[in-house]
Symmetry: C2
Subunit: 214 residues, 2 copies
């Protein structure tokens, strides 16, 4: 399959989100208009995207959920597992460890790291916790390529630098701060406090169409 | 102050994010180029945004952090507290309760709700937990206007409908599913699993500029 453009990939992930929910709910078919609504594009765009996978839906029966999910993830995931490290085993870090455990078959948080020596040696939700000084060694041994940062803002840049030095190529950052990273490192930020602040702000604006965010 | 456009408001929140980090780090001044870099706009745009607040920085000394933070939040927050409800007191819900406790002076999660009768009556991280059947009553009594959804995907739409019925006007949704809401309700989605999947996907793409996400 030829390379798929980035924006299309982002839509594919969101189709996957709906498909997982459909599968969980026991549905066997999904229609292009449902996928279109979920992702806020036209049904025609959905059908063009799904032609990449040589799957045709029918107007009456839609697309088969299981088959589509499988083909989608054949492209979105590799056959090999992706190993993830989490830095910062506080409340949020522990919640992410629990939340993500066994959620996706080829993705797992194989190691967690903290500066607190009391936490090293423990296991939280299936992840062994190590002292941060072990990051490079463990990342190399386990072939870890993704990092999740759940440390306080003041420690986040240092955590990111350590991850990059350890060979990590993509970072999901929960700390409420902007990170400076080499251009080739993928970075996504989730700022929970900022999202709550925005919700509070827009809850006060009256009017007919205040739909914002994502 | 005349109304500030939505896109400007979103930048203002992100300036606030940097300013909070600066304040935490003990810095007294911030420069427009730092704010520009944090938000990925030009320093000129930053200065135009901050003219809304009748604050001028100087090239040598920058803007005063405390004063700017105060003026920014005079606009971004009301003087009155915003009350928030959280639905779904599982691992993620509990982590959000802990994480957000006392983080912003005028924002607090005053009540949490769950379908599990065992959880009702307990207190987690400063929030009283109630049975979901109490939502409308408590929301009215406490004047709750913002809802956070941390229930499983299959229960999310129902939770959102209950929040809207209870008078909530803005929702932050962590469940991995698209919600259907009236147009005037503010909605923001945070899908942690999707973000991890995207990081894993882009960690495998080689090349010089794979910077994506936010």
């Amino acid at each position: 399959m030829k390379p798929i453009p980035t924006r299309t990939v982002e839509r594919l992930f969101r189709y996957g989100q709906l498909l997982h929910a459909k599968k969980e709910a026991g549905a066997e078919a999904v229609f292009s208009r449902e996928l279109a609504q979920a992702v806020d594009v036209s049904p025609e765009q959905v059908r063009r995207d799904l032609m990449n996978f040589h799957l045709k839906g029918t107007p009456q029966q839609g697309y088969p959920v299981e088959q589509l999910l499988r083909k989608l993830y054949e492209h979105l995931e590799t056959q090999a597992a992706t190993k993830i490290a989490l830095l910062g085993v506080g409340n949020l870090g522990k919640a992410i460890l629990s939340y993500f455990l066994r959620r996706r078959p080829n993705l797992s948080i194989v190691a967690a790291f903290d500066t607190d020596p009391e936490k090293a040696g423990r296991v939280y939700a299936g992840s062994q916790v190590y002292h941060i000084s072990q990051l490079e060694k463990i990342a190399a041994r386990e072939n870890i390529t993704v990092g999740v940062i759940t440390v306080p803002a003041a420690s986040a840049q240092q955590s990111a630098d350590l991850l990059v030095k350890a060979g990590i190529r993509a970072i999901l950052n929960f700390a409420p701060t902007q990170l400076q990273l080499p251009r080739e490192i993928y970075l996504e930020n989730i700022d929970i406090t900022l999202s709550i602040e925005k919700a509070a702000y827009f809850s006060r604006k009256s009017g007919t169409d205040r739909r914002h965010g994502k």
